[in-house]
Point group: C2
């Protein structure tokens, strides 16, 4: 029986068409739909017991699943696209994520043709398993501070990889702890006694025969991480090298080389290529954010429609909690954000592909913007998603705290996205840095040194110089910063909204977000210009700069959502729903950041209040469609992994049945009763052995 | 070696005096200090392996610790105060929490003298172990909707306790799942075919001989909850009754009775008393918030002083991350909040004691305010604390994601505080409800029915009527709502700040927060008055009402912090540091809620910017004292349970050593390698059994 059937009947739009919009294309929808059901129906991919397993069992089971997935991929002759979907729907962090997601791309991006020809076939067949070993115990975001050394020995034509200190131990790489046979290891290159900065090396770590660490290699797992199940299926590792030797041709040499006689050379391939991997990873992180958020929102929305509290009239049923405005006010902006992130993610994928094609044609002109965009949006979407998942958990009341709700694990497995690939705050700084300086006529140029505190300083600094010089040359800023060209207009303009519905006009909204972003950036620039030492000013004002970066990134998300709505959108009522969601997204931001809009005097308090009124009306419009809007994500119950979010809404019997499966219920009288409870009840503790 | 010695040398105040301020008194400091060290030095209370244990082991170990604690309490002849401190420092959720924290108080608060005489001595000696069984699978916050029935059978002079539906299963009570022998069970009372609402009953659940559930009782654990270790040491339980009989005198009869012939009677003891338990529990929850937040802040502060990233000059050490303004801007407001919550908690304890004394003298005049205060502040402080702990985790970068950082467990074990004892949003509504209606001349009186959606509706509704009528009678509002008496002035006034330092004047600040709170409340009241059906208006505007409630609660916290500073505060520099923290607290709130202050036109954008400038200066003032300010909490390394937060700052070797203790590192080659990894590497998956 479908306990949510009534909700589904209420929907005012074509859910099947919305599913295709969400998937991005009919093809993607069909592949995802097919593969997700394949995984869901295969007991080999069961995951409902995951949060109950102790670490060793859990990990062993993950090894089994990874192998089983690989086996199925072959048996079913899945295409690369299908295989990657399958791994995605198996939904269990495993060494394979790093192998396919970091190790292979690093070789592709940083290896020479020859290196690619040698290593990629091995990796593709998984005859070797690789990880990405950059972070150390003492150094994460500051890659330039890594301590591991790779010293060239011209006598043997080898590099000696060494961990000179405790803090130089590699620490965190996923798949390293127990599984990887190889790693791309980042180390400080030394030739002829001279340092040449951080480079990547392919290092074999374990024997391909007996899996024992090779001589000089100390390797293990770094221990339990946040949450049950969650990321504990992954063997994040610790690794120390004691003078481990590798052949010279295992340095990744696309960008720079060490010759037979130990000379260090830059190739003509520009250094920007090094950053390809990073941009790629971040772009996928943005796309993943909408996925994680939409899962959480599905659970909270369905459960909010099932859950009833208060409001019973004459003994009738109580009110569905989704009908409370406070619940809507917390939930619907998250639903809208899931869609917003989806569309900005789509656009980023396009941007990334565009950049890649250009790179292949040696056109580096858009890399800086792509880099800044991925960085800023990565930070914005991951933070909002992590907070949003936890909010969804709270929206489920007490039951959200049970692992069987799926939300604790979703949260725990998601949050590191805020941290890895550049801590969010650091990324935001990098972003604003790029941007403020574009408007940098107002203050002195900042050199490389100042940009320390940013992880990809060289790239950013170059971008800055270039953009600034272009501004001087009268060239208009393009892409996501095009609005900066309208600066005179935006600095002067005032919002013309007079009634609530005026807030539904896209042009009105865009101008509001543009004016806010410009004004905040200009205000930062002005404040920066007061410092004689720009480095100091930047450090001092960094909190404000972060806020300005957020304003800019939110503008990007809002404008990409609005752009999406300009496209032809088929299906009854689909466009209308997306318009309502888009409105909720920007009006919610506007309300949340009301202070920014008011402080820049673009809005009056009255206009801000009208925005809030309009937001409320949109909630009413979305309410009857809420369940259908999450159905449109097309997630299987297996993928959701949540009793509260199950498709049929039959929550209570499932919760009740699941409880009895906890190991504690193996026996009626718990282990420990005789030793530790009975003596207490019987007042015999003084003689008890505890 | 003390790696934080330099930081400690920088401190500009007397840390020992601050410790006493934090503890509340020299006596409390001495007891806490002594007992916390006693626990820390006793290997029986070790907890560093907790996150690695599977559920059964974990739980068994908790049973051991609870018994051991009880044994030590007796052996050492600890006073009640010392015993409760010891349980606190053992720092492991256990059935004893509910026994002492809910079961005993429920009997004390709701039992007759006779009942107390019979049951309390058994409970005090732990000859019986009790839980508090209110929530059901289908009903949590709406207590009036509970379905469990207690039907009086006049023939046998017994109540028949029964679970008529699946959703009536008790669900969540801590200690119920595996340990409790008894419970205070809330059920719908029926006598002579008539319903009399929800009442509490003492019900024996398990045999005192063999611990088996009594006939008609089905009981078990509800399964895994959020996090490793964390709250999984607790046996939150599920419970069904199949016509279980208890003697009539096991209904808690202080407030209402059932006579031998089944007549239902109210005693002269006013019904308000029923709510005593709830107010008590919430007040302790507020006090706990500052403790949890201060723990997280200790960890993040110490680690931020140890951790270095970027900014190395000429090969010197890198910058301590605590020196980055963005780090300070995230961390220091949390440090300030920990102190703020401490002081408001202190004040609430005073208020609660005051209320209790009055209750004993049958003076109920202040109960409504105490009730509203505890509700609102409970909601505010728990939300801020949960968010704050997670922020501290993020402030530790990647390493904060490791269980050995202590932060994941602290978060997971803390978050339910936002949910239990009334979901936070519901509490906030209840709070604003109380308050807006005090200013309710502007709109129609709201009756009981409208206040559905609030858990303690009767109490609140009474309070409302009373307050409103008093406002009419010209009586001034008192206590935390006294400022409402200045309404005419506050509605008109404008901020007079002209330079950043003006924001250091307490009167200035108080007026700003008062004006904001009044204006938001009035604006809500005005909007409410537009609805002909006030019930509808309230539902429609609830999100705004919540914001107004937050504004009021923040005012309380700010004003209690300021009050604290009016007291005589001994110790070199102590007062100055507290002043700086107080300033950070309110200026951070002011910046965060800038929109409120600007929208009500109390502030100009310029004045808001000056507040931000002042906030930055205060960061600089607190920076050299940060480590000493967290030392003042006087937490042992055992209690903190965090490698990143360890007192001596010797983080890296400890992290490294801890890693090797993970069960996954028991063997170099992991379990599962031969079955699941080798066949894959060797391309032999097709024949492998997976
Ligand atoms: C689950 C997980 C998986 C991972 N997988 C891998 C992997 O496969 N391979 C790999 O190599 N690494 C991996 N990592 C490591 C990850 O990339 C780093 O943890 C991440 O880059 C953050 O760096 P950090 O831990 O050094 O944080 P830190 O930089 O030490 O951050 C600590 C605090 O300092 C602040 N801070 C630091 N620098 C500045 C600055 N300049 N200005 C202002 N504030 C600053 C940060 O904002 C943060 O609040 C993983 C991490 C996690 C959690
Ligand atoms: C760790 C833990 C320990 C617990 N221990 C105990 C115990 O020992 N004994 C016991 O009896 N119980 C216990 N509980 C249960 C706890 O008291 C309830 O979970 C809590 O009261 C919340 O109720 P709920 O789960 O029904 O949430 P719900 O009320 O179902 O909340 C779901 C959502 O609906 C919203 N909502 C509900 N009503 C309204 C309304 N009127 N207006 C607007 N929004 C509304 C909420 O804000 C929330 O977003 C425990 C719970 C937890 C998590």
């Amino acid at each position: 029986m479908d306990y949510l059937a009534d909700e589904r009947k209420k929907a005012e739009f074509d859910v099947d068409e919305m599913k295709i919009i969400w998937a991005g294309s009919r093809h993607t929808f069909e592949v995802s739909d097919r593969i997700s059901k394949l995984v869901a129906n295969d007991p080999g991919f069961r995951k409902d017991n995951r949060t109950m397993l102790a670490r060793k069992e859990l990990f062993k089971n993950t090894l089994r699943k990874a192998a089983y997935a690989w086996k199925r991929i072959h048996e079913l002759h899945l295409s690369e696209e299908e295989a990657s979907r399958l791994r995605f729907y198996v939904d269990e962090p495993a060494y394979t994520d790093l192998h396919w997601g970091m190790f292979v791309p690093a070789i592709k991006g940083q290896g020479t043709d020859e290196q690619q020809k040698k290593w990629l076939p091995l990796a593709y067949k998984m005859q070797i398993i690789g990880c990405y070993a950059q972070t150390e115990l003492g150094h994460g975001s500051n890659v330039q501070g890594l301590e591991t050394t790779a010293t060239f020995d011209p006598q043997t034509d080898e590099f000696v990889i060494h961990s000179p200190t405790l803090t130089s131990s590699k620490w965190w790489p996923g798949g390293l702890g127990k599984v990887s046979t190889h790693g791309v290891v980042y180390a400080r290159l030394i030739t002829n006694g001279e340092e040449h900065g951080i480079h990547g090396f392919i290092v074999q770590l374990r024997s391909l025969e007996d899996h024992l660490p090779l001589p000089g290699v100390t390797v293990g797992d770094i221990g339990m991480k946040f949450g049950n199940g969650a990321y504990n299926t992954m063997d994040n590792g610790v690794l120390r090298f004691d003078h481990v030797r590798i052949p010279r041709n295992q340095m990744l040499m696309r960008v720079s080389q060490v010759t037979r006689d130990g000379k260090y050379k830059q190739s003509d391939v520009p250094r920007q290529l090094v950053y390809g991997t990073m941009v790629y990873v971040r772009q996928t992180i943005v796309a993943d954010a909408s996925c994680a958020l939409s899962r959480a929102v599905t659970i909270a929305t369905r459960y909010s429609a099932v859950r009833r509290q208060f409001g019973s009239q004459n003994g009738g049923p109580e009110t569905q909690v989704i009908d409370y405005k406070t619940q809507q006010n917390r939930l619907f902006p998250l639903l809208a954000s899931a869609y917003a992130f989806k569309f900005v993610g789509e656009w980023l994928t396009w941007l990334y592909n565009d950049v890649t094609q250009r790179l292949q044609a040696s056109d580096f002109s858009t890399l800086p913007e792509a880099h800044a965009c991925t960085a800023g949006l990565k930070s914005l979407t991951t933070t909002a998603t992590a907070d949003g998942i936890e909010e969804c958990r709270k929206l489920c009341g007490g039951h959200g705290y049970l692992c069987s709700s799926g939300l604790p694990e979703l949260f725990a497995v998601y949050v590191p996205a805020c941290t890895y690939e550049g801590d969010n705050t650091v990324l935001l700084l990098q972003h604003i840095f790029t941007r403020v300086v574009q408007y940098g006529k107002h203050f002195k140029l900042l050199d490389n040194k100042m940009s320390c505190g940013l992880s990809l300083l060289v790239l950013v600094a170059r971008f800055l110089m270039k953009t600034v010089s272009q501004l001087g040359s009268g060239k208009k800023p393009l892409g996501t910063i095009a609005y900066m060209g309208k600066i005179e207009h935006l600095m002067q303009s005032r919002c013309t909204v007079q009634k609530a519905e005026d807030w539904l006009k896209p042009s009105q909204v865009l101008e509001a977000f543009e004016a806010r972003a410009v004004k905040m950036a200009v205000s930062c620039a002005k404040n920066l210009s007061k410092f004689t030492n720009p480095e100091e000013g930047f450090a001092e004002l960094s909190a404000d700069l972060v806020e300005a970066a957020v304003a800019h990134c939110q503008l990007i998300v809002v404008s990409k959502f609005i752009d999406k709505l300009q496209q032809d959108i088929p299906g009854k009522g689909v466009k209308q729903q997306l318009e309502a969601l888009c409105g909720i997204y920007y009006l919610y931001l506007l309300h949340k950041h009301q202070g920014d809009f008011l402080a820049t005097s673009y809005l009056t308090p009255k206009q801000a209040a009208l925005a809030n009124d309009q937001l409320r009306s949109l909630y009413t419009k979305v309410r009857p469609n809420a369940v259908a809007l999450v159905d449109s994500f097309n997630y299987t119950d297996h993928f959701l992994g949540s009793i509260l979010g199950c498709y049929d809404g039959n929550v209570y019997p499932k919760l009740y049945d699941a409880a009895w499966k906890d190991p504690l219920n193996d026996s009626v009288v718990p282990e420990g009763y005789h030793e530790y409870v009975r003596p207490l009840l019987k007042q015999q503790l003084h003689t008890a052995k505890l």
